[in-house]
């Protein structure tokens, strides 16, 4: 049954990609790209990667699609007819694709337990991590503990993306009369959003602190909390969202999250261990691992929340300005 679902979903994914190639209406392209992200998340669930599906559904389908829609609001929605010939790209793609298909025949068969990927480090993670780290979710163990240094790097990359976007666009506060929400007439939407936003923030907190036991964690929770505020900004307009959490405050929050993460590493060095060696944080190594993982997940969550919301603010204030002019 799982194979059959896999077959159908992958076929739908391929059809969606094919349709995106031929569509000229960019608005439709972005909507289909949202569907594409949703479908790939569904396939990740089917292939047992629930944490990845969680991330793809919230980050890929949510934030990317919203950012692309804002960009389209500024750049226009019609793609002009291409001037160069399509024959050469088609030829290149077909040749590369044929070579890659030939290459896949050397791959080990899908899903076989004896494949080389499953031989070396994976069995150790599967068998030892519940004992060494004490968490049921192996993905969180590997992400936060075994590969904690890597995750620190990823958090810094997300932070520097914020710096890049802000230095390119910047967030400017506008005079109130310039900014008019396009959805001001939708009263039903106002009421419903006000009801569900607290629920969404509650759910984000659940994802943040339940990530050790089920799917979830700092990355996902940060994005979901940011999505709640994005909904607020979409429905009620940017000035009201600025009044709740301003861009300046978010910049402080983003750097605070990264520093929180790094300070855990420094503290463990102070305690006599290596950088990010959580075993030294408490007398009992397992308890130390728990403290370390909760704090660094919190740091990741704060950074991702602040970065995603601030990027949306930057795009949104540009869109409002180009709309007013």
């Amino acid at each position: 049954m799982a194979e059959f679902i896999d077959l159908v979903l992958l076929a739908m994914l391929a059809l969606t990609a094919l349709r995106i190639i031929f569509l000229k209406d960019l608005f439709a392209v972005v909507m289909l790209f949202g569907i594409y992200s949703f479908l790939s998340a569904l396939i990740f669930v089917n292939l047992d990667a629930v944490d990845v599906a969680f991330t793809e559904a919230s980050v890929g389908a949510g934030i990317s699609t919203v950012l692309m829609l804002v960009t389209l609001a500024m750049t226009g929605r019609k793609e002009k007819q291409s001037t160069h010939s399509t024959l050469l790209p088609l030829f290149v793609v077909l040749v590369t694709g044929a070579a890659l298909i030939y290459g896949t025949l050397d791959m080990p068969p899908f899903g076989h337990p004896d494949n080389p990927v499953h031989q070396h480090v994976a069995p150790r993670y599967i068998e030892e991590s519940p004992k060494e780290v004490g968490l049921p979710n192996m993905v969180t163990s590997v992400l936060a503990s075994y590969r904690g240094f890597d995750t620190l790097g990823e958090t810094v990359v997300v932070f520097s993306a914020l710096i890049g976007v802000l230095s390119l666009l910047g967030v400017r506060r506008k005079k109130k009369k310039d900014l008019e929400s396009g959805l001001e007439t939708h009263s039903v939407l106002h009421v419903v959003s006000k009801i569900i936003i607290p629920l969404v923030i509650l759910f984000a907190l659940y994802v943040q602190f339940h990530g050790d036991f089920g799917p979830g964690g700092g990355f996902q929770a940060g994005v979901i909390a940011a999505a709640a505020f994005i909904l607020y900004a979409l429905v009620l307009g940017l000035p009201k969202a600025f009044a709740v959490v301003g861009p300046k405050f978010l910049q402080w929050m983003a750097s605070f999250g990264v520093l929180l993460y790094a300070s855990v590493g420094l503290y463990s060095m102070y305690k006599g261990g290596h950088f990010l060696d959580y075993n030294k944080l408490a007398a009992d190594p397992i308890a130390g691992q728990h403290y370390g993982i909760i704090i660094i997940e919190l740091g990741v969550g704060i950074t991702v929340f602040a970065v995603m919301l601030n990027i949306f603010y930057a795009f949104g204030s540009q869109a409002e300005r180009s709309n007013v002019q």
Binding site: E3, D6, A14, I20, I21, L26, V29, V30, F33, S40, D48, A49, V50, D51, V52, V59, G60, I63, L67, M68, T71, T75, E79, T83, H84, T86, P89, L90, V93, L100, I101, T104, L105, P109, F110, G111, H112, P113, N115, V117, H118, A122, Y125, P130, P136, N137, V139, L143, T151, E154, V157, V158, A161, L162, V165, L168, L169, P215, V307, F315
Partner: protein
């Protein structure tokens, strides 16, 4: 039939990768190019997750009575790759917005011509 099931995921991955690649090299519009890049990126994610799947295994979260789990390592790599991917997408889109403000167009051939005029 089992031959098809053994390689089906990889073939779809190659197809998606080439679809994204085709959009990137043939489209003039920069937003569409970003969509193509994202499609390409997702196909790579799909390749990793397909390799991590073990038939008969289940998601790598400990439950009682299960011994066979899928490989957690690709999941970790891809989880962080998705977040970094959206961060780079955001930077790319903000570059597009700046290009629109500077040249008044986001079509590749049009602003190349304007560059020559300047």
């Amino acid at each position: 039939m089992s031959f098809i099931f053994d390689y089906y995921n990889y073939w779809i991955v190659v197809f998606l990768m080439m679809a994204g690649f085709y959009i990137v090299i043939s489209a003039n519009n920069l937003v569409k190019k970003i969509v193509g890049l994202n499609i390409f990126q997702t196909s790579v994610f799909m390749l990793y997750i397909s390799m991590g799947k073990v038939t008969g295994g289940t998601a790598p979260i400990v439950v009682e009575g299960v011994t066979q789990y899928s490989n957690p390592l690709p999941h970790v790599l891809i989880l962080t790759a998705i977040v970094v991917g959206v961060a780079t997408t955001a930077v790319g889109l903000s570059l597009i917005v700046r290009i629109k403000q500077a040249y008044g167009t986001v079509e590749e051939n049009e602003f190349e011509n304007k560059d020559d005029a300047i």
